[in-house]
Symmetry: C2
Subunit: 322 residues, 2 copies
């Protein structure tokens, strides 16, 4: 197997080689090229290539499905940015800011169909299975986004709801990346499903860790500003875990969030989280989902050295920017 960087380079070069109609359709395809060129770790398609490779097929057999999954991911970011009115992503203007909202909607739609086309570039014998995995995953992602938007309007959420939401919104895609790669690699359906579970649980651990970092991370290595979630009153794992305690705590939490956004609010909420031991219980949840992911990985028929490569990927993903 290759290094993570080798796989990433393979993806970057495949993205560069994608051909789109030029000329009068530039207004549709330039935003797509812009969205796909944002770079990043390309963790999702890398996982697909790795899985294909691990189960016996050379990674380049899985490049098109991997690109499809990356295109799908970027499509969801594009439409999410419109819905959230986000202006920046990865240090650049979002598509609807650089172009306009209609362009972002229509180019996003086009990306979803392109993603389906790329994912379908698998042998005929695998098409049904791969396509079904992809479409079910996509539905889960939309459901997760809807649940997330609904949460922002609800005063009562419990941790089960929260976990379900991030399983859909973040976990399902990583699960599908691992599963589709495994299928292309020649894995049995049973192994492919276990790889799905590995991706899913890794995604959940990753998202909870991301929530933790936003409050307790090291500002010198965390990519975003510490306290962003608190300032935006985002319903994170930390918030929901605190809310679920007794009614007195819930009230104190709401009071702290009633402070106008800024350093004072961030400090007040963080102090409350510390008092309640939310940092520790959140870390416990990260570890819990990480071990579930490893349990799924260990139950596959992969050799130990191959398991080790996925273990390192998960570690890198979850343990990042502590």
């Amino acid at each position: 197997m290759l290094t993570l960087d080798d796989y990433r380079i393979q993806i970057e070069s495949a993205i560069k080689n994608l051909k789109f109609p030029e000329g009068k359709l530039d207004s549709l395809y330039n935003p797509i090229k812009y969205a796909l060129s944002a770079g990043g770790k390309r963790i999702r398609p890398v996982l697909t290539l790795m899985a294909a490779d691990a189960f016996g097929q050379k990674a380049d057999q899985a490049v098109m499905p991997a690109l499809g999954l990356e295109t799908f991911h970027n499509f969801t970011l594009l439409h999410d940015d419109v819905m959230d009115k986000s202006e920046m992503r990865r240090g650049r203007l979002t598509v609807h800011k650089k172009y306009d909202e209609n362009t972002a909607i229509l180019s996003g739609d086009t990306m979803l169909t392109l993603a389906t086309q790329y994912v379908s570039e698998v042998p005929d014998t695998l098409l049904r299975l791969v396509l079904d995995s992809f479409n079910s995953m996509a539905i889960k992602v939309y459901e997760g986004q809807q649940l997330d938007m609904d949460f922002e309007k609800q005063s009562q959420i419990d941790l089960n709801d929260y976990i379900e939401m991030i399983q859909c919104k973040t976990g399902a895609l990583l699960g599908a990346c691992a599963k589709i790669g495994a299928l292309v690699g020649g894995a049995s359906e049973k192994d492919a499903d276990k790889m799905y579970d590995f991706g899913l649980k890794t995604g959940v651990a990753f998202q909870i860790q991301d929530d933790w970092l936003d409050t307790f991370g090291d500002p010198t290595t965390f990519g975003k500003n510490i306290g962003g979630d608190i300032n935006n009153a985002k319903k994170t794992y930390l918030y929901v875990a605190a809310l679920q305690q007794d009614s007195q705590t819930a009230e104190a939490l709401r009071d702290a969030f009633n402070i106008p956004s800024g350093d004072v609010r961030v400090k007040a909420v963080t102090r409350l989280y510390e008092k309640l031991g939310i940092g520790e219980s959140t870390k416990k949840a990260v570890n819990h989902y990480s071990s579930l992911a490893l349990k799924a990985l260990n139950s596959t028929s992969l050799s130990d050295d191959k398991k080790e490569v996925f273990r390192k990927l998960a570690e890198k993903l979850i343990g990042r920017k502590k």
Copy 2:
């Protein structure tokens, strides 16, 4: 074969029987049910059922792909309405007006994936062919919508550009409906491609006729207000045909469109069209594309009585509300 009404009833009942998750995901799925329940002639899925039936397979084998094509059509209307800021459709509030814009974007995305799932409910031996037809059609529809949006900002368009745009935006979907139905019915790829051409050309004739009706139609039978396109300064076949005459005519046309929207503008533009014989040349174009459609239909291996049913469908579609 059955009557158009029989096929339509089959579609309506299949839509009613669609199952969606209930409860907390209502905010995602209720807008989809609302969009799919708008009724109408269901011309597109009816064409799919008819084609399946004509080529030998009972229509109910094609119900799911037909539903997929209808779901796709409604997804494009939903996103187009957001982009055009339209408030009403078929006498009801549009989805983004009844709910909100974010709901319309996300429920639309979900409909596109649902459409792909429904269309994929064909035998394994047909999956690749059906899926490829569906995805290529979808890309054409987005390209057509982009060309249409770009036209509104351009001062120079010629009739070839206009025809290309409506081939993509209106023709490709009717083509895919006929082709996918034919494939499910057991048609050869050659016959299926001819049916695509029949649908494509019928769609073009239909769209040009629709442009004609908007200016020259009978107000008592035309569904919308006469002159709507002129009032909205829409780039129709009539407008483009007039614009492409000499520069003096183009100037007179621009002058007429500079009159504030209302009856005076509608009368001035209509008078100019009449003087130029645009009504007649538009009718000629409708007839031209109708005969191309019939030529494609006649070149299939279908029996004469079956061809007759499609001929009547095209006539009904194009000759409507004269």
